[in-house]
């Protein structure tokens, strides 16, 4: 292990629903609206498919931030999925906060298929936040760190 | 019913009628108006820049006193109503203004727009109820054709003041009906009288008031009524001012049979001469 301090490059997982946010991310791409490469997107059919377990797993594996994007409330392709997601995440995030994973490391944002700008702005601000928080030290499975 | 009452500068002097009749009527209706202690002038105009704080503090002080007494704040003058409601909205909804104003005020507990502000007309409509008011009328003004003159300050901006429909208001008409008279609806009742412009440009204001008078007369009004001392002044200055203009509280006092009792009290009050002297001295 080198003693030199490594530059902090956060690992950020973004769960995007297929119908709105993933399309919003595509629009951000086709509009060439940049955001940091630290963000990696996982496509899910709906924000309600995101099991809190996935988010815990991400932190366990060394993620520094997890963001979940879905359709705007009321616009869910499956009509009610994002409402469930919102409730689940509210609970999960307060629990995470309680055990020391700062609130800033998790976020829920509604991005429609037409909101490429919002997607890019959201990612920029989220990444900025993660940089300001620094590396996540809680929850991480030490065996995953090198 | 007990309310905090903010009379405002003009009701102490030139518009003492508006005040005296209001107090007499309120008493007749079983409404207690408890005057804010050591109130200061609201400024007559809502501060022009969104960045002004000091000019809003006199309102915040009054609003906070009402809050501490857990009372609704009532105004009689349109201008006070306008300024008070808008400052209250700032305190409730604009974080920056709230913080800065509270920093100045050093209150026991920061003020955040908790007080309800009502114009006396709203009290009559929403708290007393025009139907109830009607029952308390002892001397209905039957046969009188009265045009309501709203002006600007009661109505606009409508979203903030939430007073009445700004383009087709009816609260004063309903009031006129409740006291037994006949309201005359005319389209200029929400147009400006010229306001403060009459200080330096009397002609401009005169022209505007003439339009208002003409329209009201055309639709058959015999009297105009208003809640604003400045509107009353400007309308009276209109060259063709053939219609008498009275405060709504005078009509109310008359209908409730308490007019005569308060007539004598305000005789001979004037302010202009004193102000002139004051200014010349300084």
């Amino acid at each position: 292990m080198s003693l030199e301090k490594k530059e902090f490059k956060p690992k950020i997982v973004a769960f995007c629903c297929n119908w709105c946010s993933y399309a919003g991310a595509d629009l951000a791409g086709s509009s060439r609206l940049t955001y940091p490469a630290d963000v990696k997107i996982i496509r899910v059919p709906c924000s309600c498919r995101v099991n809190p377990m996935f988010i815990l797993r991400a932190f366990e594996k060394g993620a520094d931030g997890v963001i979940m994007c879905g359709c705007h409330p009321g616009d869910c392709h499956y009509s009610t999925g994002n409402f469930y997601a919102r409730r689940r995440m509210t609970l999960l995030f307060s629990m995470l906060d309680y055990i020391g994973v700062e609130n800033g490391r998790t976020r829920v944002e509604w991005v429609s298929a037409a909101e490429g700008v919002k997607f890019s702005e959201t990612m920029n601000s989220f990444v900025e936040k993660i940089y300001s928080l620094g590396e996540n030290v809680r929850l991480g499975d030490l065996r995953c760190k090198s | 019913m007990k309310y905090s009452y903010y009379p405002g500068c003009t009701l102490r002097t030139k518009a003492i009628d508006l005040d005296v009749y209001a107090r007499a009527s309120a008493a007749a209706l079983g409404i207690e108006l408890e005057e804010i202690s050591d109130w200061q002038c609201c400024g007559g105009v809502y501060p022009l820049g969104t960045d002004e704080i000091a000019t809003k503090l006199s309102c915040v002080r009054a609003l906070n006193e009402a809050k501490e007494k857990e009372q609704t704040l009532v105004t009689m003058c349109s201008a006070c109503h306008h300024v008070m409601k808008r400052v209250n909205d700032d305190m409730r909804n604009v974080e920056d203004i709230r913080t800065r104003a509270n920093n100045y005020m050093e209150l026991k507990e920061p003020y955040a727009g908790e007080t309800e502000v009502l114009h006396f007309l709203e009290v009559l409509r929403d708290k007393v109820g025009f139907d109830e008011l009607k029952k308390k009328v002892v001397k209905p003004l039957t046969g009188k054709k009265i045009g309501a003159y709203y002006g600007c300050l009661l109505l606009r901006p409508s979203k903030l003041l939430a007073f009445d429909n700004p383009e087709n208001p009816r609260i004063i008409e309903d009031f006129i009906r409740a006291i037994g008279a006949e309201p005359v609806v005319y389209p200029y009742r929400n147009e400006c009288c010229g306001g403060y412009i009459s200080l330096k440009e009397k002609e401009l204001s005169k022209n505007m008031c003439e339009k208002i008078m003409e329209s009201a007369r055309g639709f058959g009004a015999e009297t105009l009524t208003t809640a604003c001392p400045l509107c009353l002044y400007n309308l009276n200055k209109s060259a063709k001012a053939s219609l008498p203009v009275v405060y709504f509280t005078e009509l109310l006092a008359e209908a409730l049979g308490v007019l005569e009792g308060c007539r004598n009290e305000n005789a001979g009050v004037s302010g202009a001469e004193e102000i002139k002297e004051e200014v010349q001295k300084s």
């Binding site: 490469a37 499956y78 009509s79 469930y84 | -």
Partner: protein, 662 residues
């Protein structure tokens, strides 16, 4: 162990300029399960697809990853290519290295690193993919059209002409819609009834079309190809079969004070009524709110005078349940309420009217029998002012933010018709912009100005001031002359914004069709799928999708019909195999999943389970894969972890998470 092939696309320079594609391919070979990796200029091209096919066959691939553009773009393409080469299409995953990588990053090293990670996540997922088989569902060869205006009528006729059964459900007593209320139509000035009535007759006479008037959709269940719909036939109080349409009941009815909906409340009608003379069906209904018999129990005159004995006071609402393969929404529009625009004195003066009211005033069957007159005193006007954009293009909360699209043209029409019939009447139009994009539209507007001398003034009106002499003083801007204008008028006509029929929100909810902030139904794609709802099997016809005029509405109605026909022509539909499934060994039948399922796809069955040698009967959740849309709500709600989603399983997503965080 899977045998995975990785195909990295250059997309010309779209990807290759920012991502080192050969490096990505090289890195792929180091991942578990990968037996083949290559990069190529255009993977989606025929040559690219041939490369994929060749690799599948030569290397005997069991799964593949394409690193390319968004799966929303070409997932279907690559899945078909794989299927042709003998690979199950659900063994294909896409790593989106264009929209999510090359297009948004500039630094080649950084972008390449990210592309590799995205590829790894996709590989990790494919390693856990299983071949899936789409199910099949049947298609009921019958369409439902909601709304019987010109949009609904045209859609119904087009579908029926293709040989399929169609039901129209119309809320009011007659089909015809808004168009039946119009007098003349732009830009040809032919009479609206003359072109609409034959269509109404055609629809009602068509052997494949069945019309439910005075009826509303009550409940919708099912899915594309197999919807079940409850239709409420409101009690008409008149027997449709017995009534001969003689009209005597309407003549004799003593209650004639109900405002006429058809004439926009400008006059009254009887309690038993048909909305207009050409109504289809020509069978009256009794308005029970207005009928003396229903209010007091006395009267019954209509029953007495009806020789056919058709009047039936006992009639009750009836629910009809029907099955449909496709549903077309054609619910149309109404004008907005003007209570937020009192500066135009609409509520203060009878001589301030909306354009739709003017249509009725101009119409021979209208309240003034087609004479242009003031509604206050019946006098002929000499000066008419039109105000444009009343409630349209308003970003405050009083009006609508959109352009209502039809007003510029109908105002030119009204102005022209008035100047033509009453040359001594002056017509002034206050406008903000005149918008005339359409065939022969601008020519039409110019004719109003040049031939008919209509006075167009650029500027909005601030206030309409009723005068004691009954005239209306219009205070407006003339922006080109920089003047404030005071114009005395006898009548003022407001080009009132249009909005979707208020019922559409309720209907959209029943259909799970999405709706925008203005209550217009959303298209599946604004440009490429303009007549389809994102919800499969739901199609959009007419103004319910956005403001449009008659020619556009008819064109869109036809397009919606074609899409519906395309669906009805199929005998079977393939269903998305990415559905939920419950593990019978883990499920404890708690009903949690049932409660969160928006499609009612989950039921419970008693099943015999062999749990490690213990045989017992348990209550187990069963997913109807034809109903399941694959949202995954149940998978997270399930407390025992029995529910999982095929194609997006817990293990697959976790593998992706792990690959990204590695």
């Amino acid at each position: 162990m899977q045998r995975i092939g990785v195909f990295v696309c250059h997309c010309g320079s779209n990807i290759a300029a920012t991502v080192d594609v050969s490096k990505v391919a090289e890195m792929a070979l180091m991942e578990p399960g990968v037996v083949h990796a290559e990069d190529y200029q255009y993977m989606c091209s025929e040559a690219g697809q041939a490369k994929i096919a060749a690799a599948i066959q030569e290397k005997n691939l069991t799964g593949m990853v394409v690193c390319s553009c968004s799966p929303r773009m070409h997932e279907a393409t690559f899945r078909k290519a794989a299927e042709r080469a003998g690979l199950n299409p659900y063994m294909v995953e896409i790593a989106n290295i264009r929209e999510h990588c090359s297009w948004i990053h500039k630094d080649v090293e950084e972008a390449t690193k990210k592309a590799v990670i995205l590829m790894r996540a996709a590989i990790a997922k494919v390693n856990l993919n299983a071949p899936l088989q789409p199910g099949e569902s049947r298609v009921t060869k019958r369409a439902l059209v909601i709304g019987g205006g010109i949009a609904g009528i045209q859609t119904a006729i087009d579908i029926a002409d293709a040989g399929y059964e169609v039901d129209i459900v119309e809320k009011t007593p007659s089909i015809g819609g808004r168009m039946s209320q119009l007098d003349k139509t732009f830009p040809t000035l032919d009479c609206s009834a003359c072109i609409l009535t034959p269509k109404m007759v055609e629809a009602s006479a068509h052997e494949k079309i069945n019309i439910y008037t005075y009826s509303e959709v009550e409940k919708v269940s099912g899915f594309v190809g197999d919807f079940t719909v409850d239709i409420r036939k409101k009690a008409r109080s008149v027997d449709m079969d017995k009534c001969t349409g003689c009209g005597v009941c309407q003549e004799k009815c003593p209650s004639k004070k109900a405002p006429s909906e058809f004439n926009r409340g400008l006059n009254t009608r009887s309690a038993i009524y048909t909305p207009f003379a050409q109504a289809i069906p020509n069978v009256p209904v009794i308005d029970r709110e207005a009928c003396i018999k229903f209010k007091t129990g006395k009267c019954g005159l209509c029953a007495k005078v009806c020789q056919a004995g058709a009047v039936d006071y006992e009639q009750k609402d009836e629910i009809v349940t029907e099955k449909y393969g496709a549903i077309v929404v054609a619910t149309g529009f109404d004008t907005i309420k003007l209570d937020q625009y009192d500066e135009y004195a609409y509520s203060q003066s009878k001589d301030v009217i909306t354009s739709l009211e003017l249509e009725r005033v101009m119409n021979a069957a209208g309240p003034t029998h087609g004479h242009l007159e003031r509604l206050s005193d019946g006098k002929a006007p000499k000066e008419i002012v039109f105000i444009q954009c009343v409630g349209s293009r308003c970003s405050d909360d009083r009006g609508k933010p959109y352009c209502s699209k039809i007003c510029c043209m109908y105002t030119a029409k009204h102005a022209m018709l008035i100047r033509d019939k009453y040359p001594d009447v002056n017509v002034t139009v206050f406008y903000i912009d005149v918008r005339t994009p359409g065939k022969n539209f601008d020519e039409f507007y110019r004719r109003a100005v040049e031939q008919y001398g209509v006075n167009y003034i650029k500027g909005q009106v601030g206030k309409v001031i009723p005068q004691p002499n009954g005239k209306l003083l219009v205070q407006g801007s003339d922006l080109l002359d920089n003047k404030q204008i005071l114009k005395e008028a006898d009548m003022v006509v407001l080009a009132t914004a249009i909005e979707p029929n208020p019922d559409v929100r309720k209907i959209a909810t029943m259909l799970t069709a999405s709706i925008d902030t203005n209550n217009f139904l959303t298209e599946a794609h604004a440009k490429l799928r303009p007549v389809e709802s994102p919800t499969a099997g739901i199609f959009l016809s007419g103004v319910c999708q956005g403001p449009k005029d008659i020619p556009e509405t008819v064109a869109q109605a036809g397009a919606a019909a074609v899409k519906a026909i395309g669906l009805l022509a199929k005998d079977k539909l393939l269903t998305n195999p990415c559905t939920a499934q419950s593990d019978i060994l883990l499920c404890n039948g708690c009903s949690t999943c049932e409660n969160v399922c928006p499609y009612g796809a989950i039921t419970y069955e008693d099943k015999e389970v062999n749990d490690h040698g213990i045989r017992e009967t348990r209550r187990i959740a069963v997913v109807n894969s034809a109903l399941c849309q694959g949202c995954g709500a149940c998978t997270v709600a399930c407390p025992s972890g029995a529910m999982d989603l095929q194609g997006f399983s817990n293990r697959q997503i976790i593998a992706e998470v792990d690959a990204i965080c590695r």
